[in-house]
């Protein structure tokens, strides 16, 4: 009789210990990863940025072994001049940085490294965050080409349209403070960020799986896509995309962009982000140009006249205030050069890049 309560007591103690161990290990795992991420495990916090940054470093270090990456002094003769492209998928697919690099080196007689730091869905806010991170890490390009993606300059809510692709779990504290400084409404994002900070095994799960077992994820959730870019950071359209019929692709693009453009309104935060990029470049002594990428006739026809007038007025104002060139290549290509009226086909990307160097880059920065 006396053994049964004792056995039950032992079982209870075992259960209590099991649960205590479970809680301690589960909390320890979350906290451990949270602290590691906070200490700078960028590969999980922001995979695409990390991958592109690593490759940029390799390119720069490979091209100029004598110059440590972190040095921030003026670039010496013989040291390649980095030219950085900050853009969206349009730039990622549209520029052939290798072609540009070759052409620039040939024309200027100086070594040049062109790197395409474009990210899918990036607008001025993400460009600002990326440029700030790069500058903080000691990368100081001599020229930055900032793509202006008109649909992502707008928005009607408190956040600009670009906010949709600005995933809170990919931001760090400094990013949120940078956003705050340009008037981005960060108040709703802080609680989400704190939550994402303390439960990193959940919030960073796509990043974790992208590194450990990418085939478990659908393409839309993968955060390792930047590993598929080439040595210059350019993306290449895959065969299945190239096989898509153009009218179908244009229809899809219309579905994605028509609503954004039909009641387009410039968003103050996007304009502030663009200005902040130019301010940062001025501060760091970086030459900069704003680039409007080519659009097919179909895409161009979706802009209401008032929207385009507002964009042009804003760009003129920015050009005047900061003295930067605005390169419009909107009508450089025909519909046949695009997959879907705004992503350039590989064959045309080469031609476009070559022309871009000849008609825009060289006159603006290398032949004063």
């Amino acid at each position: 009789m006396s053994r049964r309560p004792g056995r039950r007591h032992g079982l209870h103690r075992r259960c209590r210990c099991s649960l205590a161990w479970a809680a301690a290990i589960a909390i320890g795992l979350q906290a451990g990863l949270a602290v590691t991420l906070d200490r700078g495990l960028v590969v999980l916090r922001n995979g695409p940025f990390h991958d592109k940054y690593q490759r940029l470093c390799q390119r720069l270090e490979g091209a100029a072994r004598a110059e440590p990456l972190a040095s921030r002094g003026p670039w010496r003769a013989g040291v390649p001049e980095p030219v950085l492209i900050l853009g969206s998928s349009r730039s990622a697919y549209g520029f052939r940085s290798g072609v540009m690099e070759e052409r620039l080196a040939a024309e200027t007689g100086r070594p040049v490294v062109v790197y395409n730091f474009s990210m899918y869905g990036a607008g001025p806010t993400m460009h600002l965050l990326n440029l700030r991170r790069l500058v903080q890490r000691g990368v100081r390009p001599s020229v930055v080409l900032v793509e202006v993606l008109p649909p992502l300059l707008g928005g009607s809510g408190p956040e600009p349209t670009e906010g949709r692709w600005l995933y809170t779990h990919r931001l760090d504290r400094d990013d949120l403070l940078t956003l705050e400084a340009i008037g981005f409404p960060t108040e709703p994002r802080w609680p989400v960020w704190r939550w994402s900070f303390w439960v990193p095994w959940y919030t960073q799960r796509f990043a974790i799986l992208s590194r450990l077992y990418p085939t478990l994820l659908p393409w839309s959730c993968r955060e390792d896509w930047a590993l598929d870019t080439d040595a210059w950071g350019d993306s290449h359209l895959v065969a299945s995309a190239l096989a898509t019929r153009r009218d179908e692709a244009i229809g899809r693009t219309y579905g994605e962009y028509h609503a954004l453009l039909s009641d387009f309104q410039l968003h103050a935060v996007s304009v502030a982000a663009l200005r902040a990029i130019l301010g940062l470049c001025r501060e760091e002594g970086i030459s900069v140009a704003l680039v409007l990428m080519p659009e097919g006739p179909a895409f161009r026809s979706w802009y209401p006249a008032s929207a385009w007038a507002a964009i042009q007025a804003m760009l003129s104002e920015v050009q005047r205030d900061y003295g930067v060139p605005v390169v419009s290549t909107r009508d450089w290509l025909t519909e046949e050069d695009f997959l879907d009226s705004h992503h350039i086909l590989p064959s045309s990307a080469q031609r476009f890049s070559d022309r871009f160097v000849r008609e825009a880059l060289l006159p603006a920065f290398y032949r004063y």
Binding site: L11, H12, R13, R14, C15, R16, C17, S18, L19, A20, W21, A22, A23, A24, I25, A26, L29, W195, V199, W201, Y202, R205, I208, L209, T215, L216, L217, P218, C221
Partner: protein
């Protein structure tokens, strides 16, 4: 508020802490302080709501009350009232009010409907118990059935029947009338309606006594772990548990945690992951090749099992953690060796409900083979319709009924062929029967999953006639690993290894196992939580 959401985690933790803290005065004080400080922190919202209520007092305005504020208020209030009510009654009230809050977090107005119908059922049952006049008792029973089934028919089936009628009239040459009603389907209506019916019928049959306390009865119907997707609880199992005093029990807590973790893993790491294979193919079957169609069918079979049994595990687990035991709803249905066994292992609470309240009253299997087959067909057809207001569900039910009939006929045939019957009982025979049963069930899920007949037929066409097209939406390896994991888990459970190991494993190893399962569930969750499939039924 989904079971696999952060909101539910906080809701449950608050209820759990409040529930077990009630007996200790200093813990109650802490609860009151926490509730008051939370409500003060939300002062602006509450003042705004109070002002709106004063200006225009209405139910929709009150329904805007945030569930967190409501729960904080409930916990604070019950902590104060415990001195007067006693701990056990206070716990009942805490669970009851938090269950209404849980339901109202979806739709406050529909919570009012449950309140009214439950109150009516309570009165009807009391009336039936007290009356000795069979006619009056029968009238009360019919009134209750009409109310419960009437609400179910109105909310769930009215549009279905009106649209079907409209289509039939159009087929006969009439012009389209578009009779659709603007109604919202109350979540879990099919589940709590069946619970209410089993109670009133059992009281009528004098199998259970009518519950004297309205709060107890309401808790039976609205207890949040089983409210929205079952298991369908029987009054005779649940009501006595309300009367029993609850004591803290580490064993039960561990069991509850184990079930919740298992449910979370099934839902987040398997069901939602399998949806990545199944959803795109079922959405556009014409685009995919035959291999992708078969993989999608297999993935959906796993998805629906892990989704629903995962929910049931979480329901059982959370109930255990609050001192209640709900009947298990699944018992490894995919190892069933025939379709009858499948239905004894799948959604057990529904199958047994249909058996007790529909199949047996229709005559069960007491009559001739023809009558038994008819009863099976009626039961399964209505069972199919119970799942959803669509002809695809009806067909799914009818087909299951037909397969059950075929099985009965085959059983009768086997009785005259002893050698065949003997071979079927051998290991290869049993394996063949399991594979055949699983394949049949998986193929019948196509009707369950497809949104239209055309989609279902296209899917079958792609399954059985080789087609070119897109491949599986995700790498196949992920699916095969999941299949392997499910098979291994089944083997471990069937062999009784888990029962044997779990008592021998040292506490740190168990703890590590629990933490690993939780972390894996979090890492493998494919997207922000999908709703449980059975929530819409």
């Amino acid at each position: 508020m989904l079971f696999n959401s952060g909101d539910f985690f906080f809701f449950f933790v608050a209820v759990f802490v409040g529930y077990w803290s009630l007996p200790r005065p200093w813990l109650r004080l802490g609860l009151v302080a926490a509730a008051v400080s939370y409500l003060i922190s939300r002062g602006d919202d509450l003042t705004g709501l109070a002002t709106a209520l004063v200006q225009a007092p209405s139910w929709p305005t009150l329904a805007r009350l945030d569930w967190r504020c409501a729960l904080a208020g409930i916990i604070g209030l019950v902590s104060v009232l415990v001195v007067r009510l006693g701990v056990d009654r206070a716990r009942v009230w805490l669970l009851l009010l938090s269950s209404f809050t849980f339901y109202a977090s979806w739709n406050g107005q529909l919570a009012a409907i449950i309140f009214v119908t439950t109150a009516v059922d309570y009165l009807v049952a009391r009336g039936m118990e007290q009356s000795q006049r069979p006619v009056w008792r029968r009238t009360l029973l019919v009134a209750s059935l009409v109310m419960n089934l009437g609400l179910l028919a109105y909310f769930k089936y009215a549009n279905f029947f009106l649209e079907s009628l409209d289509r039939a009239l159009q087929a006969m040459g009439a012009s389209a009338r578009h009779w659709g009603l603007d109604v919202i389907l109350p979540i879990g209506i099919s589940f709590y309606t069946f619970e209410a019916i089993n109670y009133t019928v059992d009281v009528y049959r004098r199998r259970v006594p009518a519950e004297r306390n309205l709060a107890n009865f309401m808790l039976f119907i609205t207890f949040f772990p089983h409210l929205v997707a079952g298991p369908i609880v029987r009054a005779r199992d649940f009501l006595p548990q309300i009367h029993r005093p609850k004591r803290w029990d580490w064993l039960r807590l561990q069991l509850g945690v184990q079930l919740v973790l298992m449910g979370l893993f099934k839902k987040m790491a398997i069901a939602d992951r399998m949806a990545l294979f199944a959803d795109p193919v079922f959405a556009n079957p014409e685009l995919y090749n035959t291999g992708a169609a078969w993989l999608a069918t297999l993935a959906y079979a796993l998805q629906i099992y892990c989704d629903f049994s995962g929910y049931s595990d979480m329901a059982l687990g959370t109930a255990h953690m609050l001192g209640y035991k709900l009947a298990p709803n699944f018992n490894m249905p995919y190892v069933a060796a025939n379709i009858s066994e499948f239905w004894r292992r799948w959604h057990i609470s529904l199958s047994s409900w249909l058996r007790d309240y529909l199949f047996i009253p229709l005559g069960g299997s007491r009559g001739s083979m023809g009558q038994t087959c008819r009863n099976l067909l009626i039961t399964m057809t209505l069972g199919g319709l119970w799942h959803g207001a669509s002809w695809t569900f009806v067909v799914w039910g009818v087909l299951h009924g037909l397969v059950l009939i075929l099985h009965r006929l085959f059983q009768a045939y086997c009785q005259t062929r002893p050698r065949l019957a003997q071979w079927l009982r051998t290991v290869p025979g049993t394996a063949a029967r399991i594979v055949l049963t699983f394949t049949t069930v998986a193929l019948l899920w196509v009707f369950f999953r497809a949104t239209t007949f055309t989609a279902a037929l296209t899917m079958f066409h792609h399954l059985f006639v080789p087609h070119a097209g897109l491949g599986a939406p995700l790498h196949n390896r992920s699916l095969w690993y999941t299949v392997l994991l499910v098979v291994v888990c089944h083997v471990v459970a069937l062999r009784g290894w888990w029962k044997a190991w779990s008592v021998r494993l040292p506490a740190p190893a168990m703890g590590f196992g629990y933490a690993t399962v939780l972390t894996l569930a979090l890492v493998l969750a494919p997207d922000s939580g999908k709703a449980f499939i059975y929530f819409v039924f």
